[in-house]
Amino acid sequence: MSQQVSVRIDGELCTAAEGQTIYEVAQANGRSIPALCHMEGLSSAGACRLCLVEVAGIGRLLPACTTPVNTGMSVTTESENLAHHRVMALELLFVERNHICSVCVSNGHCELQALAQKLGVTHVRYPYNYPRLSVDTSHPRFVLDHNRCILCSRCVRVCDEIEGAHVWDIAARGINSMLVSDLDRPWGESENCTSCGKCVQACPTGALVEKGRAVEEMTKRNVVVTTLAAKRDAHP
């Protein structure tokens, strides 16, 4: 049995197991912290910075999804400062690529869009990058549209950790970071891809979608991934 720790989340005293992240403990105690790169059943990446929280005594904001709880920790999940930073993180995701919701197959079923609506992002204060990006249609059943990718790496992790194929990874760094399959080959040529479609189900946006969907038609089933992960944990 792992050690129990007590922490305060928004003032409320909570018990947690040692090693649990702030995100997990907050969720178990009925708080919802915004998140995009986090997905239940996968390892944490800390890629999107939406889950930032305040921890008393620490001068900077910490990502809840990768920070383990400590005894005596006092966490704040909602504040003006946090709201400001979360909105900024979303705005920066929007300016980095070309997110045009009105023509997107995932319009209405997109986690980025939903979170922006929830956090009240009505406009973006920074200039858009408008990068020129490609769309990979080489796979017989799926499409990768880099314009809509937020580099959350959920597809990378689901393919590696659940399917075991590790077709995806993130190449280069900084503003040049890009999702790649194998040695940056067209997806359809990947020898490792099993066409299982888990990456499509895990992708929070319209970056990975099924072929043949019209605007607003692509709904995703994250629960597929979470259920598989849970089953795997039950039969290691």
Binding site: W168, D169, A171, A172, R173, N192
Partner: protein, 178 residues
């Protein structure tokens, strides 16, 4: 995965990679060490696609993971490198001492053009004849010597157009010899 196109690798290259992988695998940082040693062993100091495919098989590292690593570190090259390397510092100290003019001069001299994608702060380009690779770095840590240009891994400080010209000429004379 027998059918990956490692057929174009020579037996000696494969043996070398096998040896490096067996020596390094299991150690901390093994992948970086493997990639570095294999790149160093190539006459043109780069990692061809077939080589990466073979490393992927032997070291059991997914292809995309390999690609992610070699594109993250500036140390690794996916293109053949020139026999000579000229590296111009574009750090702040060197910039204030006119390194952009030196860079322009080398580019003109070698007949290289800046890439159009606006990424001019980080540049790697090799002349068509494969003789010289020009790179920029963001600071050699030798700011007192600004502006700094490195030629074939030798640091030259306080460079001006004339001294740079001399070094480039010395290079091309070396090339001319058989």
């Amino acid at each position: 995965m027998e059918n990956l196109s490692s057929h174009s690798l020579s037996g000696t290259t494969k043996n070398f990679i096998d040896k490096v992988v067996s020596e390094e695998n299991g150690r901390a940082g093994a992948l970086l060490a493997i990639l570095q040693r294999v790149q160093e062993s190539h006459a043109r100091k780069f990692l061809p696609r077939e080589t990466l495919e073979y490393i992927s098989q032997r070291a059991s590292v997914p292809l995309s993971r390999l690609f992610s690593v070699v594109t993250f570190y500036a140390l690794f090259n996916l293109e053949p490198q020139g026999r000579n390397t000229v590296c111009v510092c574009r750090g702040t100290a060197c910039h204030t001492r006119g390194s952009s003019r030196l860079l322009e001069q080398v580019m003109m001299d070698l007949g290289l053009r800046a890439k159009e994608d606006g990424e001019s702060d980080k540049l790697t380009a090799t002349t068509d004849d494969g003789e010289t690779t020009l790179r920029t770095v963001a600071c050699f840590g030798q700011c007192a010597l600004a502006p700094v240009v490195e030629v074939n891994h030798v640091i030259f400080g306080h460079m001006n157009e004339r001294s740079l010209q001399r070094e480039l000429e010395a290079l091309s004379k070396r090339e001319a010899r058989p």
